[in-house]
């Protein structure tokens, strides 16, 4: 028995170490993004984000004017070290120190550097300012000059995303809850076939329905308006919403419902006063699931709102930035983090419901 428990202890140590390793790997990419989004453009270009951690690097301890009037073809001697100008430009090491020539040949400075523990703390919030607003703004360069830069307009596209996401979350719930109630507590012709359709559509990829919808919407002249995206998102979300809510609402206690009918409550009153409040956990599960999905969606908005224009959503804007500012990591990381902010808040505050939603029906078309 003793050896069994010791085995258990070592195995739990192995378990925890492997788990810690996995968690480290999993969180590293996000941390890299978050850290980078707060670093200055110069800092990002010069060093990886992990240089914010303590590390050994050459640090300037003193400086002196560079010798002038030296022979361009001969090695130069500074502080007893002899090397060519090019070597000094790259930095010459001698007994723990490094001499580095900054500036040009005739008017330069020699830095005396030493290996020291240091942290790169060039942080800024300017990246966010530049990314959120769409106006022209002045960016201070490293050399002190100001540069006129066009903002990246993520803020307004966030409003678009919200206007797309909020109705696209609430409407499927509303419509599906009514339908789920009918499926559970009412008898009507076509009930079975409709429910079969709901289950069948659960796995149909939304791409399959997209082409004809797009043509219809073009004829109705609603492409490029919120209406088109809502209709698409609501419809594509309905099978899962109906299926999840049906599973929940049909399990509500029969006696409670019958008591309400006997008291003279109509179906509408029973639904709004009794069923909806009782179904809050199921509604919340689906709401979070759908909200995160719609907020992060790119394809549906891209097709129905277009890749550019006033109403484009954040994911479209960010994709655009990847194309036009592919090397400007200070903007890209800040932009990406802004798009992640709302879903992450929703996720961490309501993780439990989110997981419940996933467990209840893990398929989506």
């Amino acid at each position: 028995m003793k050896s069994y428990s010791r085995n258990k202890r070592t195995s739990s140590l192995i378990v925890n170490i492997s788990l810690a390793l996995i968690c480290f790997l999993w969180i590293l990419p996000t941390i890299g993004l978050l850290v980078s989004s707060f670093r200055t453009s110069r800092a990002i270009a010069e060093s990886g984000w992990w240089y914010i951690l303590p590390h050994q690097a050459w640090v300037k301890i003193s400086e002196m004017p560079a010798p002038t009037g030296t022979d361009p073809d001969k090695p130069i001697t500074i502080e007893g070290v002899t090397a060519t100008f090019e070597q000094f430009r790259a930095g010459v090491e001698s007994n723990g120190k490094r001499l580095k020539w900054e500036g040009n040949r005739r008017l330069g400075t020699v830095f005396v550097e030493e290996q020291r523990w240091t942290m790169d703390t060039r942080f800024t919030i300017d990246n966010y300012r530049a990314v959120i607003l769409g106006d022209q703004f002045q960016e201070k360069q490293e050399d002190g000059t100001l540069r006129q830069i066009q903002g990246n307009d993520i803020g307004p596209s966030m409003i678009n995303t919200a206007v797309v996401a909020i109705p696209s979350t609430i409407l499927p719930i509303l419509i599906a809850a009514f339908a789920a109630y009918a499926f559970s507590w009412m008898n009507f012709i076509g009930r079975k076939i409709l429910f079969v359709a709901v289950v069948a559509l659960l796995v149909v990829p939304l791409q399959v329905a997209m082409v004809p919808i797009l043509r219809d919407f073009a004829r109705l002249e609603i492409n490029g308006s919120y209406l088109a995206v809502w209709l698409a998102h609501v419809t594509f979300g309905l099978p899962l919403a109906t299926y999840l809510l049906y599973n929940y609402i049909s399990q509500l206690p029969r006696e409670t419902m019958e008591a309400a009918y006997i008291d003279g409550a109509s179906h509408f009153t029973t639904f709004t006063r009794l069923v909806l409040p009782l179904s809050v956990p199921a509604l919340a599960s689906f709401a979070i699931f759908q909200f995160i999905w719609v907020w992060n969606d790119f394809l549906v908005s891209l097709i129905f709102l277009g890749p550019s224009g006033n109403l484009r959503v954040m994911t479209a804007r960010l994709t655009d930035m990847i194309g036009s500012r592919g090397q400007d990591w200070h903007y890209l990381t800040a932009g990406a983090f802004i798009t992640m902010l709302v879903p992450l808040i929703v996720f961490f505050s309501m993780q439990r419901y989110f997981i419940r939603g996933l467990l209840a029906g893990s398929v989506k078309g």
Partner: protein, 381 residues
């Protein structure tokens, strides 16, 4: 027999309810037309002019007003529609009321699903037999093209790579982490960390990983994590997303593994919680190692869940789109079926071909659909 507060049919009350419904519908129509008018700048009628004057989308404030109006209209309008339609039916005599009321409840869902999902799906299948404008019948030509153009071959190959490797690693890593977490005190934290990428958009993830894979020429500062590691070990930096095609697809698949493993883990965690403790204890007392317990007891017990999760992830991989668009835009032979669908439809403006690709997606999910429907029929019995 249910009792209601209204006794018999009262024409005036019915008429009032009918007028209410008409008002709601009219208000909805005007409201939606206001929204719609913004999408059509050429319109010059009074309503469109009014819409263009009150909704100035160029400024954030105008955008906010427009947004709030749109949200209230969309959500409030739908709720009002349910309420008003119910009001009309409630005023009917008992028998027609009992007939009609279910359709008030289920109607909007049925209409949307039929007109925006079921019929379009059928039309897509039909369109796949037509030419690029969807007008001339071309038989199987789109499918023949789809299977013979080398570009498409790349996409099929890549999608299969995604399905096989992506699914394998998502499911097995998810299972591994769920099993580890199940035995650890830090389960909640570990699960939250691995699960978190699910809340991140594909485009956001694309930025994260493009930065990790970032390539700077040899000798310059490697600010991308992967190349920094590689050069630390004295190797040459690589342009991971371009280099060594088609295996560069693996770097994209890693991103999806990072994002979707959490999903598998959460489902497996719940399934593992359902394995009876006595079964595990019995195995341990018999002297089975933890590895054997995993393969001989746990794995068979949660096999059903593994199958469900695997099919879900396969369907997911089949439709992958955003991530490829964000990572490479489909360049460097990383195109998949999802991106080809978009490319044929929009860049090439080839409706027939786009529909053919969509139809292939549909065919691919039909076995799963059939399985789900059979389950449904069995549960009904």
């Amino acid at each position: 027999m249910s009792t209601t507060s209204s006794y018999g049919f009262q024409p005036t009350r019915f008429l009032t309810a009918l007028i209410m419904l008409a008002i709601v519908i009219a208000a909805l129509y005007i409201g939606f037309d206001l929204l719609r008018a913004q999408a059509v700048p050429e319109r010059t009628d009074a309503l469109a002019k009014f819409a263009q004057s009150i909704f100035d989308n160029a400024t954030p404030a105008g955008k906010l007003i427009n947004g709030i109006f749109a949200i209230l209209l969309g959500v409030g309008g739908m709720a009002a529609l349910f309420w008003a339609a119910n009001g009309v039916v409630e005023e009917l005599p008992e028998t027609p009321k009992r007939w009609l009321l279910p359709y008030v409840f289920v109607g909007p869902m049925a209409v949307l699903l039929i007109f925006l999902y079921i019929i379009p799906t059928i039309r897509t299948v039909l369109l796949s037999f037509y030419d690029r404008d969807g007008e001339i019948f071309v038989g199987l030509q789109n499918y023949i093209d789809t299977f013979t153009v080398p570009d498409m071959w790349d996409s099929f190959r890549n999608t299969i790579l995604w399905i096989v490797l992506g699914t394998f690693f998502c499911v097995s890593l998810g299972l591994l982490i769920a099993t580890l977490a199940d035995r650890s005190k830090f389960e909640t934290v570990a699960r939250a960390i691995v699960f978190m990428p699910m809340a991140i958009s594909f485009v956001g993830a694309a930025v994260i990983f493009r930065f990790i894979y970032y390539y700077a020429p040899e000798g310059s500062n490697q600010i991308g994590l992967l190349n920094a590691i590689v050069t630390t070990f004295g190797r040459q930096p690589q342009a991971w997303l371009q280099y060594n095609q088609p295996w560069n697809n693996l770097w994209l698949i890693i991103v999806v593994i990072w994002m979707q493993t959490g999903f598998c883990m959460v489902i497996f965690s719940a399934a593992l919680k359902g394995v009876p403790e006595e079964l595990l204890e019995a195995g341990r007392i018999d002297g089975a190692t933890e590895v054997r317990i995993f393969f001989n007891i746990l794995l068979p017990y949660i096999w059903g869940t593994i199958v469900t999760v695997t099919t879900t992830i396969i369907i997911f991989m089949l439709k992958i789109f955003d991530l490829v668009m964000g990572m490479t835009g489909g360049q460097f032979s990383t195109e998949v079926i999802g991106t080809q669908f978009y490319r044929q439809l929009f860049a090439n403006r080839n409706i027939g071909w786009g529909a053919a690709i969509a139809t292939l997606l549909l065919i691919a999910v039909i076995p799963v659909m059939a399985y789900n429907l059979r389950q449904l029929a069995q549960n009904r019995k």
